[in-house]
């Protein structure tokens, strides 16, 4: 074990764009791994979250598995961060909230153009969908919010470096945007 800061990351109902933006810090990732060690993350492919200092959550909460993963992160992470529009306010997936879940499923799997053998998927391995997509702060306590679709690599860098160095996090004007 090292005394490095432990970081876990997960995508719930998101597009992995925020993780791509994290990788967009480019060579600065070499600096980052001097300071942190990644636990559960798509980057390490570790599937369970251990005790961590920082948990970065991309995506909103759209199904039962998202709820489980999010609660698990909250339990194990000292600082939980909503990263990106979907985690912060539901984002694009929350646009389905304007419709009934039944309507969405029927449009996709029954009435959609080119659908063969129409049926709504019902395999027990598939997590049950929630009626609405929720921002993560509606399910667990969130310590920091980093908006953007995605937040730019520079914004993620500013956030992580200032948080790790224990400074109050503040951003240059052009690094904060909701899109």
């Amino acid at each position: 074990m090292t005394d490095k800061i432990r970081v876990s990351t997960a995508t719930l109902c998101g597009c992995f764009g925020c993780h791509m933006s994290l990788l967009d810090i480019d060579e600065r990732i070499l600096e980052l791994v001097q300071l942190v060690e990644f636990d559960r993350s798509p980057i390490t492919d570790i599937k369970t979250v251990g005790d961590c200092d920082i948990g970065l959550i991309e995506g909103g909460v759209a199904n039962a598995e998202n709820v489980e993963v999010l609660r698990d992160f909250r339990k194990h992470c000292k600082v939980l961060v909503a990263v990106g529009a979907c985690a912060v306010n539901g984002g694009i997936p929350a646009m389905r909230n304007t419709f009934e879940l039944k309507e969405c499923l029927e449009e996709a799997y029954i009435d959609g153009i080119g659908v063969a053998n129409p049926q709504i998927p019902n395999d027990p391995e598939i997590p049950m969908l929630l009626n609405k997509v929720h921002p993560i702060h509606e399910v667990v306590k969130v310590d920091y919010f980093l908006p953007g679709c995605p937040p730019s690599a520079d914004a993620i860098w500013t956030f992580l470096t200032e948080l790790i160095e224990g400074r109050p996090v503040s951003f240059p004007y052009e690094q904060i945007h909701y899109d």
Binding site: N89, T98, P135, Y144
Partner: protein, 246 residues
């Protein structure tokens, strides 16, 4: 000879004339008080409350409060900024403001004022209301999901266009924008894309059709500089913005 009259805004002396509101005098002096429903071309409305300031221990809206000699106006203390941010957060959760999917993003005054007040999250529980989109007009669309009830289109259509196309119906949380036409649709109203009402919306509720995402990210109205320097979005809408469908 009338003497120069002043009040203090965050400790700085601001000159005013008889009949000025705090907002009028501040705008003329180049001092920024955040606002959404205020546009100097129209009668003040005082509905969005974003321009709230503290005067003698009372919260008032700067756009409706008459300026008076010797007032000490707090426009930027931590408590005022926090209250403004709370108001903005309520505006965000009451509607469906999906910035990544909105053509107005980057040139949206709601967004810009929220950036200015340091809003990083909506904080409250989202309403996710069920609202519609009206695409019946050939040149202009209305997305009711984004309407913040500022009534600028109502005022512009009534006072400048002389058409009374828009009004607010309902009360409290049931308040909503309605269109004065036989079918309740913009398409069968007297609205035209050349109307003043087409160029005053501070958000992406009233949008011209046949264009979209014209400015690349990084070059949009509020991408580089804050609203306090750039000014209102309506001030950047030139007369040819709402051109007719060709």
């Amino acid at each position: 000879m009338s003497e120069i009259k002043t009040f203090r805004l965050d400790g700085v002396a601001i000159e005013f004339k008889d009949g000025d509101t705090i907002m009028d005098a501040a705008l003329r002096a180049g001092a920024y008080i955040p606002h959404l429903c205020h546009n100097p071309e129209f009668t003040p409305h005082g509905s969005c409350r974003v321009c709230l300031v503290e005067v003698s221990g009372r919260r008032v809206s700067a756009c409706t409060q008459p300026a008076a000699t010797g007032l000490d106006v707090d426009n930027s203390s931590g408590a005022i900024v926090e209250e403004r941010r709370n108001l903005l957060q309520m505006l965000f959760v009451e509607g469906n403001h999906v910035c990544p999917g909105c053509e107005k993003s980057g040139a949206c005054q709601l967004q810009a004022v929220a950036y200015y007040t340091g809003m990083l999250s909506p904080h409250y529980t989202h309403f996710f209301p069920q609202r519609s989109v009206d695409a019946s007009h050939p040149d202009t669309m209305i997305d009711f999901n984004r309407c913040i009830l500022c009534e600028l289109c109502v005022r512009a259509s009534r006072d400048i266009d002389r058409k009374h196309v828009f009004s607010i119906s309902g009360r409290g949380i049931g308040s909503h924008l309605t269109i004065n036409s036989p079918g309740g649709k913009l398409g069968d109203s007297t609205f035209a894309a050349t109307d003043k009402a087409a160029r005053v919306c501070p958000v992406g509720a009233i949008l011209p059709k046949h264009r979209g995402y014209e400015q690349p990210i990084g070059e949009r109205l509020y991408d580089r500089l804050p609203v306090s320097i750039v000014g209102d979005v309506a001030a950047h809408e030139s007369g040819d913005q709402g051109d007719e469908h060709d």
